[in-house]
């Protein structure tokens, strides 16, 4: 990688919020958490694709808070300015990398996200975009991991429920460690782009999207409409 590309990689990619957007356009916030970006093969692509998409704000949490000193006020403001919140991360021990948990612990305050007067997130959409090393077969009740991906992410589903956000099925890529060798990344990126477009244009079929096991299945030529 040339030094220029590297520089770009670590440059802040958060875009200015556009105020004169027309009414039907929805704003999407991608909160990206990857502590080892040098070895990222999929997530970094998805993050950059999101950064390049209009009406999508992509935030690299480990870039903004390398010391985990998360600015609560700023993060809450970001949430208020967007209609859809996406956690983009590689699955670590069946959950998020630690900074996303820290983000939840700090930003989703009583009186803001839940509890008395805590309805700031009401009506927003929430989903996780994840990559998992295990194969899809492993994430079955009779598989190696004993639980499906939706089951494993239930704490986040409940987080969405208590903060009154609509929980959308996870957008998952399984077998991510070999996706590059098997040339599956390009298709996944196309699906991701399609998903972002649908969220921005508000054309995602919500009744389907909330019931699916893996949202990526919706983003195919057949599943689109």
């Amino acid at each position: 990688m040339t030094s220029d590309a590297k520089k770009h990689q670590y440059r802040k990619t958060e875009k200015e919020t556009v105020s004169h957007m027309d009414q039907s356009t929805q704003k999407v916030l991608v909160l990206f958490a990857h502590p080892a970006q040098a070895s990222s093969e999929v997530n970094l692509h998805l993050f950059r694709d999101a950064s390049a998409t209009p009406s999508v704000t992509a935030v690299d949490l480990y870039y903004d808070y390398p010391d985990f000193n998360i600015d609560i006020e700023r993060e809450q403001q970001r949430l208020l300015e967007h209609d859809t919140i996406i956690f983009l991360f590689p699955l670590f021990w069946y959950s998020t990398p630690s900074i996303l948990k820290e983000w939840q612990d700090l930003v989703l305050e009583y009186g803001f996200a839940y509890g008395q007067g805590g309805s700031a997130l009401q009506g927003k959409k929430f989903l996780c975009a994840i990559t998992a090393g295990g194969k899809e077969e492993a994430y079955q009740s009779d598989g190696f991991n004993h639980f499906t991906i939706r089951q494993l992410l239930q704490p986040l589903e409940q987080m969405a429920r208590i903060t009154q956000m609509a929980y959308i099925a996870p957008f998952a890529l399984f077998g991510s460690r070999t996706a590059q060798e098997e040339k599956r990344i390009e298709t996944h990126r196309q699906k991701w782009q399609q998903l972002l477009n649908m969220l921005v244009n508000d054309t995602l079929n919500m009744s389907k999207a909330t019931r699916l096991e893996n949202l990526a299945d919706l983003c195919t030529k057949e599943g689109n409409h």
Binding site: D67, Y110, Q116
Partner: protein
């Protein structure tokens, strides 16, 4: 005296007017100097016969240039280019001499004339080519390196050529001049037996290399400890002139000797300081040299032989270019590099003048031929900048379109971070950067310090980083960052100001003595300022809290809170400081704000310890009633 001053003034005026205009027109400085020379010489007649004398003096610029080139070239890299040096250089010189000699023979010149002419035109102009490479940043390209190998080989070859020319002298010319006493140059080797001559040469080369390696360091250290800048300059000049004189005395090329000395000193910690001191002299002398080439054009000979001279020039350059192109193909130079080698070396050079006058002294060529050939050499030098313009505007765009923007050989050898000051502060910064494979260039004015740091294996150079020319030779124009880690408050401020002014793209990170100094640096344009005691004091404070059995994570949070408030309030304080910067900084708004900062930090940190309900946010549990509310919802 006034006469000399007037002469100097004319030369300087010509350069000052012509060079910037030429540069702006994209012609390069060399062509600017040449044109300046033509204007004050043949056109306006302001300068006359003394140009040849001045030219001999100005040729010393070439010596200095080779010294500087040597400084850039460590012995290791010189050794690495040996095959190129001998292969490329040898082929170029051999082929070109052969072809030109052949052509001269075809036009029924006697063999000795033909060979002398061939040898003279085989040489290219180190002065123009290297100067132009430097200006255009072409030294590190594959083509640039190849051209340099050829030039270096030619400079070495001048020595045997000088020995050969007297042997080619024509008996009848010698006979004609037998009664004229001709000037003998100063030499200590005249009349020595060949074996003794060989010994003297070996001894002097050994003296330059070994002496350069072992004696230069104590000498420079001694001089540096005087902290007198002009004495250092004098030492640098003494070194170069001394070596040149020594080489002249034993009949070797001064330029080659200086080059050798440069290579020996390339590893020295005084390298950048030497470069910075010699550079201006080199630039001026070379400029002067180019002016004299322009001014020395003999109008009478030119007007009576104009078509012949033009044809000869074209023929010489065509032959040289063809030979170079074939060699470039043989050595598999790719794309634009092939053309760079071909076009850059197609001229005859300053050594051509030297050899021509030497040939005249030794009666190897008749004077009328020499007058014409001198003009051919000058003309080909005139045309070189034009060839570079062709290279820039025709060759480069063509290869840029076909694929890569530039060939990948342009590896940046300059450090990406310049660190000024390698004391307690700079060392830590440097260690972290080096451990992360960042290329650093470290400068310090304390030669003892440099010595110490070098012993640990850090690449450090002696040099006053507050001097613009030192920053320049350290490569600040290529550096991404300048880190200022020096003690002196005013010098640090001057450096920030200069660096941001001259290199606005380079990020400047500066160490401040205290808050006020930090604001001053920030005002002058520093991109990042840190107070030298801030973080260590904060660490000490947190350790104190931990020692008092306060939970380490809580302490860490308090430290974070401190930093947060500090960084937020810092901007407010800075703006107040700017507003008050003209007046006294006592009893004013700034002071009030400073007190306010103290109060904010104190109140933010204090509350938590007492009532467990911090004003700071984070991990705050829901109120106790919340669990009951959850039941209510059911």
């Amino acid at each position: 005296m006034t006469g000399y001053l007037l002469q100097a003034f004319i030369y300087l005026v010509a350069a000052v007017i012509a060079v910037p205009i030429a540069k702006r027109l994209g012609l390069g400085s060399v062509l600017g100097y040449l044109i300046a020379g033509v204007v004050i010489g043949p056109i306006m007649g302001l300068v006359g016969d003394e140009t040849t004398t001045i030219q001999h003096f100005a040729e010393f610029g070439v010596v200095m240039m080779l010294f500087l080139v040597g400084l850039e070239l460590e012995p290791k890299s010189l050794w690495a280019m040996k095959s190129k040096l001998i292969g490329l250089g040898g082929l170029q010189l051999g082929f070109t001499t052969g072809v030109i000699t052949g052509v001269a023979l075809y036009f029924s010149q006697p063999f000795s004339f033909a060979l002398t002419i061939g040898l003279i035109f085989a040489l290219s102009s180190t002065a123009i080519v290297l100067q132009t490479f430097q200006e255009k940043g072409l030294q590190q390209t594959e083509g640039g390196k190849s051209a340099f190998s050829v030039l270096l080989f030619q400079d070495i070859a001048v020595i045997p050529i000088l020995a050969l020319i007297p042997l080619l002298a024509l008996p009848e010319l010698v006979a004609n001049a037998a009664n004229e006493e001709h000037h003998e140059s100063l030499s200590i080797v005249k009349g020595l037996a060949p074996w003794a001559y060989g010994l003297v040469i070996i001894a002097s080369v050994a003296f330059v290399t070994v002496g350069g390696h072992y004696l230069s360091r104590p000498l420079f250290k001694f001089v540096a400890s005087s902290r007198l800048r002009e004495i250092f300059t004098a030492t640098a000049l003494m070194l170069v002139i001394g070596i040149a004189a020594l080489m002249g005395l034993v009949g070797l090329s001064p330029a080659l000797g200086a080059f050798l000395a440069g290579v020996v000193l390339a590893n020295s910690e005084f390298r950048h300081e030497l470069e910075a001191n010699i550079e201006p002299f080199k630039g001026l002398l070379l400029g002067l040299f180019f002016i004299t080439v322009g001014a020395g054009i003999d109008v009478d000979v030119l007007t009576s032989n104009v078509s012949l001279i033009l044809m000869l020039t074209a023929a010489v350059m065509l032959i040289k270019a063809m030979v170079l192109y074939i060699i470039a193909m043989l050595f598999k130079l790719r794309q634009s590099n092939k053309w760079l080698l071909t076009l850059s070396l197609a001229q005859a050079g300053e050594f051509g003048f030297v050899l021509l006058s030497f040939a005249a002294q030794n009666y190897a060529l008749p004077n009328d031929i020499i007058a014409i050939l001198s003009l051919v050499v000058a003309f080909s030098m005139f045309l070189t900048p034009v060839l570079f313009i062709i290279f820039d505007n025709v060759v480069v765009p063509r290869y840029q379109r076909n694929g890569k923007i530039r060939d990948e050989d342009e590896i940046n050898e300059k450090g990406t971070v310049v660190i000024a000051g390698i004391g307690r502060f700079g060392q830590i910064v440097n260690r972290l950067l080096v451990a992360n494979d960042v290329n650093t260039i470290v400068l310090d004015i304390r030669s003892e310090q440099i010595d110490l740091i070098r012993r640990i294996g850090t690449k450090a150079y002696f040099g006053d980083a507050s001097k613009p020319d030192i920053l320049h030779t350290a490569g600040i124009h290529d550096a991404a960052l300048l880190i200022i880690a020096i003690d002196d408050k005013d010098t640090a401020a001057d450096m920030v100001k200069y660096a941001k002014h001259a290199y606005p793209d380079t990020r400047v990170l500066a160490r401040a003595y205290d808050r006020g100094h930090g604001y001053r640096l920030r005002q002058l344009g520093a991109d990042f300022v840190v107070s030298e005691t801030y973080h260590s004091a904060l660490e000490m404070g947190t350790e104190a809290l931990r020692s008092l059995d306060i939970h380490p994570f809580h302490v860490e949070r308090q430290k974070m809170a401190y930093k947060n408030i500090e960084s937020k309030q810092n901007d407010v304080l800075y703006n107040a400081w700017i507003d008050d910067a003209s007046g006294e900084r006592v009893d004013n708004n700034y002071l009030k704000l400073f007190v306010e900062l103290e109060r904010l930090i104190e109140s933010a940190l204090k509350t938590d310890i007492h009532d467990k309900h911090s004003k700071m946010r984070g991990w705050t549990p829901p109120p106790k009633e919340h669990s009951e509310q959850l039941h209510d919802e059911k």
